[in-house]
Amino acid sequence: MQIMWDAFYDQFVVKGGYRNVLEGLRNTIIIAILGLLIGIVIGTLVACVQVAGKRSKVARGFAVVGDVYTGLFRGTPIIVQLLIFHYIIFSAISIDGLVEAVIVFGLNSGAYVSEIMRGGILSVDVGQLEAGRTLGLSYPATMLRIVFPQAVKNVIPTLGNELIALTKDTSVAGYVATMDLTRAFRLIATANYEFMIPYLMLALTYLVIILIMTFVVRMVERRLRKSERR
């Protein structure tokens, strides 16, 4: 046991492994949160055109594009997407690994968020839309002022789920040109082949990050639900 700790201490502190870990931690959080934000923006747009596509020909065209996008990004593993973006699409231009990872994770989560958002919008009673329309509000105005705020409230728990899944998915970002938590600890572990402590520490770190995220999501949800009795 003592040997394991010594080996870990040697790599983590003396050889400066903690710098990698800190950078990895920062990157993991940046990729997860920025990725989700990009995902929410893309996903919301796609969901909107898909919902509006039922009643407008213009939106229907965009909805088809959205369907193709969702199909492509949900149908392939994220690591394959990372590899394709790294070695094919971004191979000609030099681009920071972190930016690349944020883009890929954003696009990937956008595909999932679009379905979450669509479900959220459809979960709002049609009566709400009808009530807005009968008061003389236009379709976009009703959607924006009445349906959308309620939809967002409904999807917060699912979006929290998506954030957690995304955070864990970032563990593959280390395969292409960026430092992340998993890669940082893997470097420590493989330096002297003492796996136990680094990997258990790695698991613990993810667990703590995700517990904090869960807590934050709960707080946000509670704030938004103040208009309800549940």
């Binding site: 407008s56 009673d125 839309l129 003389g136 105005a141 009795r229």
Partner: protein, 324 residues
């Protein structure tokens, strides 16, 4: 929701059968229309507030409304009764094109609501609607529920005027001294619109005795309170006509009274209204005209004393014997 603006009204197949009417498809635009032989449809009676001509609604094969032509003049209180599935609600929803008619036209104060060139949102501002399920906005408190539409519409108009003035100013720069165009007058400010809306909402809330609930959320209110607020929300737009879609059907028997009381008050003030209802006593008391619908047609109509007192139609007799 299917919306009238986006949909064609008459399938092409109808063209041959109904040559006297204008067939409106999505692609009919102003010049094309002028070229065609057919004259624009017009309401037969310019004084009618609401008029429907040959209103037909089909859901697939099911005919819900079967070629209804009807007029409702200002000040009338029309109660629509009938068995479920007879098309009462659909008829009411067609009156403000919440349901787009398969065929036929709806006129509101001479404006053809089925015409894609008519801005339906502007017309709907003057038609209030109250739903069976209240449909208060769950994410807003009571005051916000009532002020949302007046403020939104007011600000929209204000912005429109300001935008127009802005372009007029720019084009005025290039005009001669005597050729300057006048600016549209800007009468209110955004702040004033908001204040007026809030004052008006509080006045209405006080009238129904719910001023203390202004900051409550709909989910904390009883059904009767919610429905009265829904009525007040529609009133905040100063509508010319109110459409009630079974306003008391989702309420506890205890709360029906307070809602009917408010509707009766409105009726006494001279509001034009169309009420789909199962409250026969109420229909008899308030309505100036009762329509009995069955199978998508208005089978019998007349003053309440006649419809309830001396029904002629067999189906109506049967219906009344069951519900009275």
């Amino acid at each position: 929701m299917k919306d009238a603006e986006q949909k064609s009204l008459c399938p092409e197949a109808e063209k041959a059968q109904l040559p006297q009417k204008r067939v409106q498809t999505e692609k009919v635009s102003a010049p094309k229309f002028a070229k065609s032989e057919k004259t624009p449809v017009e309401p037969t009676d310019p004084n009618a507030m609401l008029e429907v001509q040959h209103l037909t609604k089909r859901f697939g094969q099911l005919v819900v409304l079967d070629d209804i032509s009807e007029k409702i003049v200002q000040g009338e209180k029309v109660a629509i009764i009938g068995p479920s599935g007879s098309g009462k609600s659909t008829f009411l929803r067609c009156l403000n094109v919440l349901e787009d008619p398969t065929d036929g036209y709806v006129f509101f104060e001479g404006n053809n609501l089925c015409d894609l060139k008519v801005d339906i949102n502007i017309q709907r501002r003057r038609m209030g609607m109250v739903f069976q399920q209240f449909n208060l906005f769950n994410n807003m408190n009571v005051l916000k529920n009532i002020t949302l539409a007046p403020v939104h519409v007011g600000l929209q108009d204000l912005r429109k005027i300001k935008r127009k003035n802005f372009f007029t100013k720019i084009s005025n720069l290039f005009r001669g001294k005597n050729k300057k165009r006048a600016l549209l007058p800007v009468e209110t400010t955004a702040k004033e619109i908001r204040e007026n809306a809030v004052n008006n909402a509080m006045r209405l809330l006080e009238r129904i005795g719910l001023a203390d609930k202004a900051s409550a959320y709909p989910s904390t209110l009883s059904g009767g309170q919610r429905q009265r607020i829904a009525i007040v929300r529609a009133l905040a737009m100063n509508p010319k006509v109110m459409l009630f879609d079974e306003p008391t059907s989702a309420l506890d028997p205890e709360m029906v009274g307070e809602v009917l009381e408010l509707i009766k008050e409105l009726a006494d003030e001279g509001m034009t209204m169309v009420i789909v209802t199962h409250e026969m006593g109420f229909a008899r008391e308030v309505a100036t005209r009762v329509m009995f619908m069955d199978g998508g047609k208005i089978v019998e109509q007349g003053p309440p004393s006649e419809v309830f007192g001396a029904p002629k139609n067999e189906r109506l007799k049967d219906f009344l014997s069951k519900v009275l």
